[in-house]
Symmetry: C2
Subunit: 243 residues, 2 copies
């Protein structure tokens, strides 16, 4: 049994029930966002057992005793999607006493953005139950997962306006209309096409490719690619992404 950390009032009390303080389980849960060109979607698990049998749940797992939380989340993501190196950021920790009916489990919530085309279900123990759900079609969810999802969506909505992370949801090559539509569905707003395009291009973050759309029955749009190195360079000079 580990000793009590001694920087707290507790240690000065010579507390006799120290073991009780080391009885927590810690899990990670990861809200995985994707975009198929039309809807913003979340990757959810359908539960096969009680409690909350049949409910949708955010994928997650208990953190192993010798495992970092971030590492645990990457493990979950790889088991689930086959992907590593996807955008991953800690969201918030949910630690209410009664949030989990089977024990005291605090969960560190993360959210992840990935290119939905890269996703391939894996033959892991749960991948068969994984499904993409449009975020406007969500019903009840297991545990406090609806609350976690809401926090994740809110965070995404503010972050996507301040950092160029929207590109994580798009294919490598995209049109400005693709980008605009992503932002519009994500933020529930509409942008003026001309102004949106001017604003984005003025940031100088996109590389214009010598390619256009094919087989569309209207003027084909030019394809662009996001330039992360350029963003890094500009950031150091005080540039601030904003939409």
């Amino acid at each position: 049994m580990p000793a009590l950390p001694d920087y707290s009032p507790v240690d000065t009390l010579n507390h006799p029930d120290i073991a009780e303080y080391f009885s927590f389980g810690i899990s990670v849960d990861c809200v995985v966002f994707g975009y198929d060109g039309k809807d913003v979607k979340v990757l959810l698990i359908e539960r096969g057992t009680d409690p909350y049998r049949g409910y949708q749940a955010i994928p997650g797992d208990l953190v192993h005793p010798r495992e970092d939380a971030f590492t645990a989340t990457q493990r979950v993501l790889r088991d689930l999607t086959g992907l590593k190196d996807v955008y991953l950021e800690q969201l918030q920790t949910f630690a209410s006493v009664n949030r989990h009916p089977l024990g005291r489990v605090a969960t560190i919530a993360y959210y992840s953005l990935l290119k939905i085309g890269d996703y391939n279900p894996r033959p892991s123990s749960w991948a068969t139950a994984a499904q993409w759900t449009p975020i406007q079609d969500l019903g009840d969810m297991a545990f406090d997962h609806k609350e976690i999802f809401n926090a994740a969506l809110e965070r995404l909505q503010t972050k996507v306006r301040q950092k160029p992370i929207g590109f994580e949801l798009l294919p490598e090559e995209f049109t400005l209309a693709d980008l605009q539509h992503l932002y519009e569905t994500l933020l529930n707003t509409e942008f003026d096409k001309a102004n949106f395009r001017k604003k984005i291009l003025a940031m100088d973050l996109l590389i214009a490719l010598d390619k256009t759309q094919k087989a569309v029955r209207h003027r084909p749009a030019r394809l662009y690619r996001f330039d992360p190195a350029r963003y890094e360079a500009l950031s150091k000079r005080g540039f601030h992404f904003e939409l």
Copy 2:
């Protein structure tokens, strides 16, 4: 021993060492910010015992088995400062395997803003070791607390430009120069006085009082008060604080 949550791959493996998953300690640590009219300061504890004896540490404590994390943080804050109802927000959770030498402890970090004049050291077990330190004078800190502090300061710097939380650090009644100086020290910038004042007043968030400074040997400044209700009302109509 609690049962294993059954929404993870682990349960399907019928893992024999379930108890090992429920061996975590969870602590809360709270970065407390204050402002004395000149410097932005943090309330720190000087450690009296090993490890890290003599180092500065962020106040915190282990979460009790039947206690919410947020509640635990409020308890710590009250023991430390005598205050309740101060601004308190979850920052981020730090859960590296080796962050604590005496056991596996994940810490949920919070940060808090309070009016430094309201603070009164408490006869609790640690209040005697508490001291306000200007944030530019910080030396080494115990554990990973420097990393936690840096994350808290960064968060504060971005948040203070997007939400009207700076007022939490000022006395109830303040001058526009006070407000400007707070923002300037917090963000390491300078604002044009006339423009700063125009921008703030245009937001219509301040109540101009019929009071002025006393005993200054120049033209006395008018005192203002922040109006939270007004902010709420404007927010609902789409108003967005920005500095």
